[in-house]
Amino acid sequence: MSLFSRAIQKISTGLSRTRQRFLGGLGSLLTGRKVDAELLDELEATLIQADLGVHSAVKICDDLRAAAKDGRIAKGEEVIDFLKNELKTYWPESDRSISYAESGPTVILVAGINGAGKTTSIAKLAYQFHSEGKRVLLAACDTFRAAAQEQLTIWANRIGCEIITGSEKADPAAVAFDAVSAAKARDVDVLLIDTAGRLHTQDHLMRELTKIRDVVRKQLPAAPHEVLLVLDATTGQNAINQAKAFLAAIEATGIFLAKLDGSAKGGIVVAIRNEVNLPVKFIGLGEGYDDVEPFDPETFVEALFA
């Protein structure tokens, strides 16, 4: 019960903070103004500073310009609704949900570059599933980085879910194999597989990731049911290359956008959607295991200008 009320409080303070920043930022930029060249320039600057990239920012501003030209929008205040509608079509409801296994364990493979926030994000997802009453198993396949398995074990204990670890420097694919066997045997609902951080340019490490995926698939043909790429919200244009590489190696199905509680806007996900068509599923907003929310395009648009 106390947890529940805390969550509500968290969401409402979070929202009011967003709202205030939103009114302060975009409000002053848009209120009482005509949609003209000057305003569009300022909007373009804002979008670029939110890491949307030149290409995506220009594309959106072109759409706005066209809308202004044929009278669909005229006042500054209308811009925000226009953007919301436009960006909502980027992320339809359907691809924001998790695809569960029809029967047996749902396997979620989580990957990303070093320091993106994979382990913390997994803890958040585990907590989410756990509090929905699902039986959760974690697989600590980061056998490379010092104390990575310990880090996930601490989370597992805090949340109260099970975990499979391997010996240090063990083959991560072997740990994944054990984890899937255990998931099947113990009849768990969700298996979350943590992997070592790797730069997308390291071919051998990307191949290792493919191998983990293949091992999982061999044991459970429909698995992994979700492959999440954890992306640091502060990442710039390089995130497009990351998305491409993880898509190629393990057919990523969605993005977990971590560290969105800073001042970075994570606008790169717009460019990623444009270029490689990878949807955002979750956002991370802090270091606690309950600091996770499903991605909401409307709030995202508001936050872009906050």
Binding site: Q49, E150, H200, K259
Partner: protein, 484 residues
């Protein structure tokens, strides 16, 4: 990117030629491409704007239009200004006497502080210094364990206070401990924190106040986007940074964050992390960085890397073999192995001028090519390696089975080896001048050949390249004389 920049500049100036003087509008138009290039490299919007304005002013003051190649000259101006902005190079750690020198690390979550602590320790230990690492990240689960393991791996000393929950106290005790045990340097690793988290920023200030670090470094992820300026500015205001260490530089990020961070903090970029191992820490080179942001490639690094990796004597032997047409598959494998010692093929290619923007082409280079070639060659008999011509369909099948490849892969390898061997034989027979011409012909327009031929002779990087080339030519000449 580099090519498209140069072309854009040349286009604009070509249109102007015959119309007399260069004016601000012309230069501004030509700068549009630079602006896009910088933004795509993640340089902050405001920094880009100021930078472009400055360039326009400088360009107006120079005789850009008089130049035979105004495009190249403009690139040079842009490049030089960028180097100025990011420099001067300062890869020094300042040690105090008597010790211990106290160094504090700070940064956002996941920027790479703990790994960088290990790298820095390894770097400083080179001078026979005793380094102590201490973990003040009591936030993230198992962060203390991680640093302890890292310390063990690099052979540094480690300090922790069991049961202490206040990082300020841990830091203070660590420095006291360092003083009493006589270590030379103590490195304080801190928890990752958001620059907007008031409580955590206050804590960082408190750690700094309690320990009086001689140097405070901000660890900044090279892949950071526009927000890099916000976090760097805040950290600098709170902690008075002494320098910045760019991490994860071995990625394919163009690294515009370097320019942004330097521009807003004014603090030097000291080092960059370039790999997973603890010795993968390099001094920051503004000129190479400028080249990378502009997509000009990094020829100097490439040549240095090659010189580090390749054994000169071995190379001479190979040359002689090539000249006589005795180059075998075994030699070929040796060469390939040396190549891969320089790093993954893709990252080597990326350092070539003109290759920076060719993402698709780079994507097509598979890193496992070399491994596969190695497997194939290893599955051949000695006779087959010396005389690939003898490999018939039966042998081909056996080799494919042995190496886990397809027979087509085997014949593909033999074919490209034969082509290469022929080409080398041809080249070895040429004089130095002919060979240069041949190499230039092989390089794409505007590629390595064009750079070396002096198109941009005044850019620092390529001057060095010129020297290296000369040195190489001298070596080759010597070798030729010896052969005669």
């Amino acid at each position: 990117m580099f090519e498209s920049l140069t072309n854009k500049f040349n286009d604009v100036f070509r249109k102007m030629s015959g119309r007399g003087r260069i004016n601000e509008a012309n230069v501004r138009e030509s700068m549009q491409e630079v602006r896009t290039a910088l933004l795509e490299a993640d340089v902050h919007y405001d920094v880009v704007r100021k930078f472009c304005d400055d360039i326009v002013e400088i360009a107006l003051g120079t005789e850009v239009i008089e130049s035979l190649r105004p495009g190249e000259l403009m690139i040079k101006i842009v490049h030089d200004e960028m180097v100025k902005l990011m420099g001067p190079a300062d890869g020094q750690i300042y040690y105090v006497k008597p010790g211990p020198t106290v160094i504090m690390m700070a940064g956002l979550q996941g920027s790479g502080k703990t790994t960088t602590c290990g790298k820095l320790a390894k770097f400083m230990q080179k001078g026979d210094r005793r380094v102590l690492l201490t973990a003040c990240d009591l936030q993230r689960p198992a962060a203390v364990d991680q640093l302890e393991i890292v310390a063990g791996q690099v052979g540094a000393e480690f300090f922790k206070t069991e049961g202490e929950t206040n990082p300020v106290k841990v830091a203070r005790k660590a420095v006291t401990h360092a003083r009493s045990t006589g270590v030379d340097v103590v490195v304080i690793d801190t928890a990752g924190r958001l620059h907007v988290d008031e409580e955590m920023m206050k804590q960082a200030e408190d750690i700094a106040k309690a320990t009086n670090p001689h140097q405070i470094f901000l660890v900044c992820d090279a892949m950071t986007g526009q927000d890099a300026v916000n976090s760097a500015r805040e950290f600098n205001e709170r902690l008075e940074l002494d320098g910045v260490i760019l991490s994860k530089f071995d990625s394919d990020a163009r690294g515009g964050a370097a320019l942004s961070v330097k521009a807003v903090t004014g603090k030097p970029i000291k080092f960059m992390g370039v790999g997973e191992t603890f010795d993968a820490l390099e001094e920051f080179h503004p000129d190479r960085m400028a080249g990378r942001i502009l997509g000009m490639g990094d020829v100097v690094s490439l040549v240095e890397k090659a010189q580090e990796t390749f054994d000169v004597e071995e190379q001479e032997k190979m040359q002689a073999k090539m000249a006589k047409g005795e180059f075998t598959l075994t030699d070929f494998l040796k060469q390939m192995r040396q190549m891969t010692k320089m790093g993954p093929l893709k990252s080597i290619m990326k350092m070539m001028p003109g290759m920076g923007g060719q993402n698709e082409m780079l994507d097509s280079i598979k890193g496992d090519e070399v491994g596969r070639m190695e497997a194939i060659i290893n599955s051949m008999t000695k006779a087959e390696r010396n005389e690939p011509g003898m490999i018939d369909i039966h042998r081909r099948r056996r080799i494919a089975r042995g190496s886990g490849t397809k027979p087509e892969d085997v014949s593909g390898l033999v074919k490209s080896f034969t082509q290469m061997a022929n080409m080398m034989k041809q080249m070895a027979g040429m004089g130095v001048r002919e060979r240069m011409a041949f190499a230039k012909q092989m390089a794409s327009p505007g590629g390595m050949g064009a750079m070396a031929s002096g198109g941009m002779g005044k850019v620092k990087g390529s001057t060095k390249m010129g020297k290296v080339n000369k040195r190489k030519l001298k070596q080759k000449n010597k070798r030729k004389k010896r052969r005669r």
